[in-house]
Symmetry: C2
Subunit: 123 residues, 2 copies
């Protein structure tokens, strides 16, 4: 049976009922969090829909892996690295990070960066 | 290699570069569209991230299938049916529709309803 995680955020601090904030760790990054909006805790077998929030000055890990990402920006402004390319992103821009792309999301504004990032559950 | 679909929407009419609008058909529904933000056209093997926009008075199909959905509301106001339960949804509310749940999203406002809906690519 499905379920709803109601949005209970305030201002730039996005939050959902029944969704714990997990610390997201990356080298040199503080105050970044991850929230699993739909995933294994709900019983979703195939994919995981996560929300990441990264404070000003922060970034995600610079990484490369075989599984792909589907991303949509919800708030703030980012620069994304895709191999040797860098693209500036604003709210509602959608990004496909292919498997084996070297990638990193960097907050380039003075407010939190928030985005949805989907991955397969089978990694 | 990954790619970016930049948001080029205007007002309530959400649109992205390089993402065609497909007619979404459901009994009695007109003017509903689907846009694949990340999926097979990008080369994503595991999941599909779609945007649905449903005009006032419209709804998605009432349906039941074995694969699950991960949904996040982007604009408007919805009522979702999950088996015998009905829940009102507002922007940024997240919904897990489990496999085999009877489900339907209905626009209950006077403006477009827009939401992200993720499914596995393996159906």
């Amino acid at each position: 049976m499905g379920s709803v995680h109601r949005f209970i955020g305030s201002g730039n601090d996005y939050d959902w009922e029944g969704v714990p904030a997990e610390i997201y760790e990356a080298e040199g990054v503080h105050g970044a969090i991850k929230r699993v909006l739909v995933g294994k805790p709900d019983g979703a077998p195939n994919f995981v829909m996560r929300y990441f929030q990264i404070e000003p000055g922060g970034h995600s890990r610079l990484e490369r892996h075989t599984h792909e990402h589907g991303v949509i920006i919800l708030q703030g402004k980012a620069k994304v690295q895709l191999n040797e390319e860098f693209v500036t992103l604003e709210p509602l821009d959608a990004v496909f990070v292919a498997g084996n792309d070297l990638h990193q999301f960097t907050n380039i504004a003075d407010e939190p960066l928030g985005f949805i990032c989907v991955i397969t559950a089978n990694i």
